[in-house]
Symmetry: C2
Subunit: 380 residues, 2 copies
């Protein structure tokens, strides 16, 4: 009755029930994945292998107001339904429609509480509205959660049971994948790491906080950074982080290079403090970056990794991997979001499948064989 | 095939498998719980109902060195074994011995990597050494993890499936209880929230970080704070946080009250930034405080809660409860630690019980009835 293994105790690191990515092979059917962004709505048919069919990209037109944007989401799904992939009969083969939505989402109530890209979405009942207009099962989640799931199913995070996904876009999104599943917290609000304080005296923000990492390392933060920079250095004309990165690449040949370098150093420093805090809290195996600003990786990552290691005892002991997405092959059509939204559908189907197997065990006539299968799929 | 419930999607907040606290009633047996601290070692027999028998409290004597401290832990267990509670036959009824150990513990390897209270414990193979000398199953975990588990089983956290436990002692410990179980992370290092950066320009620390919350809100942090305060205000003689709290209680009758108040405001501010970051990341139902400095609650909590709410969008939307332990009835014998260490044993026994029930399903002769039971206990 002694603990015979090398494992230290009952309290060894958490184990995963079963790897969802590896179970996809046994799943039949299709999903529609829709990724809503501030600039564009992207949607496509997605196979369980993660292949994309009939990709559509429409302008979001935020200024049209929330009801119009919502109708556009529904229209895009209708458009896709008219043109299913070869061999797919929607009424039979479509498992559901998944939506990745930016912003703070109260999943328990199906509300978008606030979304930086959609100023008029305040406690907006997105789920209920979509569910009423789409005659297939509807799944919503925060876009970072959806993309993290896509990365687990089809991307660079396949091998990991514990990782944190960070999207550097207009805002900074975060998703937690813990113990082999997305972790949503008590209300579905977990993963809001972009609001982490990295400079307590920093500028005030619309969320009520001040000095959060978004001020230094997101698209919206860069608007202010760039206008300040252009004011101090009129010869710098960069209007976007991408343009600033192009200047950075010219190195110290550029007269204002130090000022440009400082912007990316500040970005790396802020992200480093955020990561150190996250890693000290969660001890993940990996951190995975995605989103537009990740393209400036060479400019900010050295500082970011240096600060993470300096400030996180845990990162120096847990063999942390810092990765970037493998699902952004085509800059015109960001696959991660769409494949991730479709993954919401697939994961639900896999969970239902497991639950049906369990129910088979319940039936008195079902004996040893199906029971074994159920046991294998739900190991505690 | 539509999602008929009010729940928003597959991606609703995580559900708990089954509540461990409520399953304790079905468990037979005893545990020995041992709580190691920098000042004292406390141990006792603990019943599954959380009752304590034969409590022992010895001095730790850190300066004797790690091997002597370890022998003392083993001696304390031997002492308890000589005097079991009425009706308990150790060889038959003792499920195991649990140890709560302060410091950063690499559970996967069973090592204490670093411990502020034990400067000579560097990559110290505690688990292996205890296991060799104790002929009952041995369980170790970080003391905060153990205490959090005790709080879930017997204390104020019983109703919660998602909470963060914070111990304000010599250092600041943290434990994450997520989805109905302790979350240890990939290596067992999760929950090190005391090392969170709350002042990026703050003083450098032995961990390599600077400006962590421990500098402002832990016993070790208060040593420096108090010596600075005494230097600036020679009339202040407080040598401990408790003594300073006694001064604070005198209010503005005290000539140096503003300086005293500022110390506790700084403490509340630092803890508020930490909590806001933690709540934004994890969306827990509750935060539970324990440890000696919690006694100064009235002095620091108002500022702490104010800053948490200002800086955390999530805290303003998820009905966060901020609590303090219900397991510190007797200041001479802190029960939380001992009961928590014993809970490590009980939780393991409950998990093994569930696993035996599952195995019963596997056996071809076992038919519907036990299968039903297994299903109930592992619902996905």
């Amino acid at each position: 009755m002694t603990e015979g293994t090398k494992k230290s105790s009952s309290s060894t690191p958490n184990k995963t029930t079963s790897d969802i990515a590896s179970k996809l092979n046994g799943l039949q059917g299709w999903a529609i994945g829709v990724d809503l962004g501030g600039q564009s709505i992207r949607g496509a048919w997605v196979s369980t292998k993660g292949q994309i069919f009939d990709p559509i990209k429409w302008e979001t037109k935020v200024s049209d107001g929330k009801e119009k944007v919502l109708s556009r989401l529904v229209q895009l799904v209708d458009e896709l339904l008219k043109n299913p992939p070869p061999g797919c009969e929607p009424s039979k083969d479509l498992l559901g429609v998944g939506f990745g939505i930016p912003g703070i989402i109260h999943l328990k109530k199906g509300l978008v509480i606030q979304s930086p890209q959609f100023p008029d979405w305040k406690r907006f009942a997105v789920y209920e509205k979509l569910r009423k207009k789409i005659k297939f099962p509807v799944f919503i989640d925060n876009d970072a959660n959806a993309a993290a799931l896509g990365e687990k199913m089809y991307g660079v995070c396949k091998p990991y049971d514990h990782f944190v996904y960070v999207t550097l876009g207009s805002g900074i999104g975060g998703a937690l994948f813990l113990n082999g599943d997305l972790y949503h917290g008590s209300m579905g609000l977990a993963g809001e790491i972009g609001h982490m304080t990295v400079d307590p005296q920093g500028a005030p923000e619309s969320t009520g906080n001040r000095g959060s990492v978004e001020l230094y390392a997101s698209g919206s933060g860069f608007q202010k950074i760039l206008s300040d920079l252009r004011e101090r250095h009129p010869s710098i004309s960069a209007n976007t982080p991408e343009e600033l990165y192009e200047l950075w690449k010219r190195g110290n040949k550029l007269p204002e290079w130090e000022a440009v370098e400082k912007v990316f150093d500040d970005m790396g420093n802020a992200l480093g403090i955020m990561l150190a805090n996250v890693v000290n809290t969660l001890d993940p195996q990996a951190i995975c970056f995605a989103g537009g600003l990740t393209h400036a990786w060479k400019a900010f990552s050295r500082k970011m990794i240096q600060i993470t290691m300096e400030r996180s005892y845990v990162a120096r002991h847990n063999k942390l991997r810092i990765l970037s997405t493998s699902l952004m092959k085509n800059s015109n059509f960001i696959e991660a979001g769409v494949v991730g939204a479709a993954s919401l559908v697939f994961v639900d189907a896999l969970k239902k499948q497991a639950s049906i197997e369990i129910k088979t065990v319940k039936a008195p006539v079902a004996a040893a064989a199906p029971a074994l299968k159920a046991v294998a799929s739900v190991a505690i």
